[in-house]
Symmetry: C2
Subunit: 311 residues, 2 copies
């Protein structure tokens, strides 16, 4: 079975995809039990050894809100020396930015919402107020030549507001880019998107002047749709895909938001398509199996289960 | 959330897909405990009420090999009166055909393999010998105006032989069509396919003179690839897709073959794409939840879990 998947390229797909690995942050922040700092550091080192080059490391949100990542100051120095790896960190406000810059972070990410309800629930402020909060964060980061990613949640559906109009997403996306974000990650936080919707949103962003190479996609597998939506995004030209090793995580504030796209399931498809990622699937799977042992429960990734015979 | 998924058609996809529901046969034949005949009949009635129009009902394989479906004679008369529904049954040989015809079956399916190893393990004969076995079955069925589907297993990878060359699949597919099969179901029995491989096989079949409308696809979710492979097949023009309510089943002879594509995950995508199936997703989900209660374990379908809040 070591020769599978068979490599058969498809037409009009990019030759290379950059995987933005979110397991160590988006995954572990949703664990009920706090994971020891040493395990987090080892996890990130193993992800890097498996070939991932963009590994979201932790969050500088106030520990009151995300106690699972309260050890950011202890963790970051343990991993910041890993060579050839970008280690973005989540930063909600200027206080978080101060903490991140003090530790030498070179990439940050702010997180906004396409819907008012989720903005209120996740950030305790309106979309407009969140943009006001991000403005000095992004400006100061850019002044220090720090790369800024903007997460945009609820780009397709919202558990309280239902289907989210494309023009509403375009509006907030443009605002984040106007503030100086280098790239956006379009989040299907509750996993409801389908391929036509994905392509329609990407096309609308292009029409509004946003180039595809400034866009990444972040799909959840709540309804089993993450990988087909990823394929649709690749067909549109997207080359940055968020995924979580072993399928860790979700969003604790969003009902039914279990299940980030598993990095292994993504790599299986990309390997089969002959699309370069630099990731060694066997080593990544071994990492997720190792982490699952630390967490005391099996990975939800189907590829991890199949390759490790956990069925 | 009742307005989700949002309907956004994508370009160049068929307006309608026929779902070939395999849960009652492919799903239940892999249950360790035998399901009571009354539960099977009720399951099929509920699937029909949910809008499925092609429901594979049972198998006329010798009960020694598939004891879970040994009640075919008792089951079939309980369901054969359901209006507007095709009820194909699996038939391996002339003895099976006799049993099926006696009960008034109007659609049968034979099952071959693209690889020699699986043919030996599943049918205890070579591919050529299996075709010899099917020849009179298909001829007699056609003479009685009975519709014949040909299943073709291991079309992408084989657990013993590895990657399966496209030309090898084309050879067996042509042979089955030459014997008189009305349609073929291309099976990714161990779930290893990726979208480029799917499209390459379909294109090779077309080049060999097989029209796309004689082809259905049967994907397994072992590595989480079933739905993205389905999207690739739809983009090629395929309009017949096999799926299993609740994601029931797999193949007991194929290592790592857990997980048929769940019908609910498929319908979510097709609903979002505005592709007609005739299926009511809520009613289908309720059916899978009901069956899961009968089986005593939760459905592996992510859509079933999300819609029924089993997380």
């Amino acid at each position: 079975m070591t020769d599978l998947p068979m490599v058969v390229p498809a037409q009009e797909l990019p030759p290379r995809v950059r995987i933005h690995e979110v397991g160590a942050r988006d995954g572990l922040q949703n664990e009920k039990a706090t994971v020891p700092t040493e395990v987090k550091a080892e996890f990130i080192r193993r992800l890097a050894a498996a070939g991932l080059t963009t590994i979201e490391a932790t969050s500088f949100v106030h520990p009151k809100w995300v106690p699972q990542l309260a050890d950011a100051e202890a963790l970051f120095p343990q991993i910041s020396g890993i060579e050839g790896v970008d280690l973005p960190v989540l930063v909600p406000n200027e206080r978080g930015l101060d903490r991140a810059l003090e530790l030498g972070a070179r990439r940050i990410a702010v997180f906004g919402s396409a819907t008012e309800t989720f903005s209120q629930k996740n950030l305790n402020r309106s979309v407009a107020e969140s943009l006001t909060m991000f403005e000095p964060v992004i400006a100061r980061a850019k002044a220090g030549k720090v790369h800024v990613r903007g997460y945009l949640s609820m780009c397709f559906g919202d558990p309280w507001e239902g289907a989210v109009p494309v023009h509403q997403v375009v509006g907030v996306a443009k605002a984040l880019l106007d503030l100086g974000c280098d790239e956006l990650s379009l989040g299907d936080t509750i996993g409801v998107a389908t391929p036509g919707h994905v392509q329609a949103l990407l096309a609308a962003l292009n029409e509004a002047g946003v180039p595809t190479d400034a866009l990444g996609v972040h799909f959840h597998d709540t309804y089993g749709q993450a990988l087909s939506n990823t394929l649709a995004a690749l067909q549109h030209g997207v080359t940055t895909v968020d995924a979580s090793a072993g399928g860790l995580g979700g969003c604790p504030y969003a009902k039914s938001a279990t299940g980030n796209l598993a990095t292994e399931d993504l790599v299986w498809m990309l390997d089969g398509l002959g699309i370069e990622t630099g990731v060694d699937l066997a080593e990544l799977t071994a990492t997720s199996v190792w982490l699952a042992e630390q967490l005391g429960r099996p990975s939800p990734s189907r590829t991890v289960r199949a390759l490790s015979h956990q069925e």
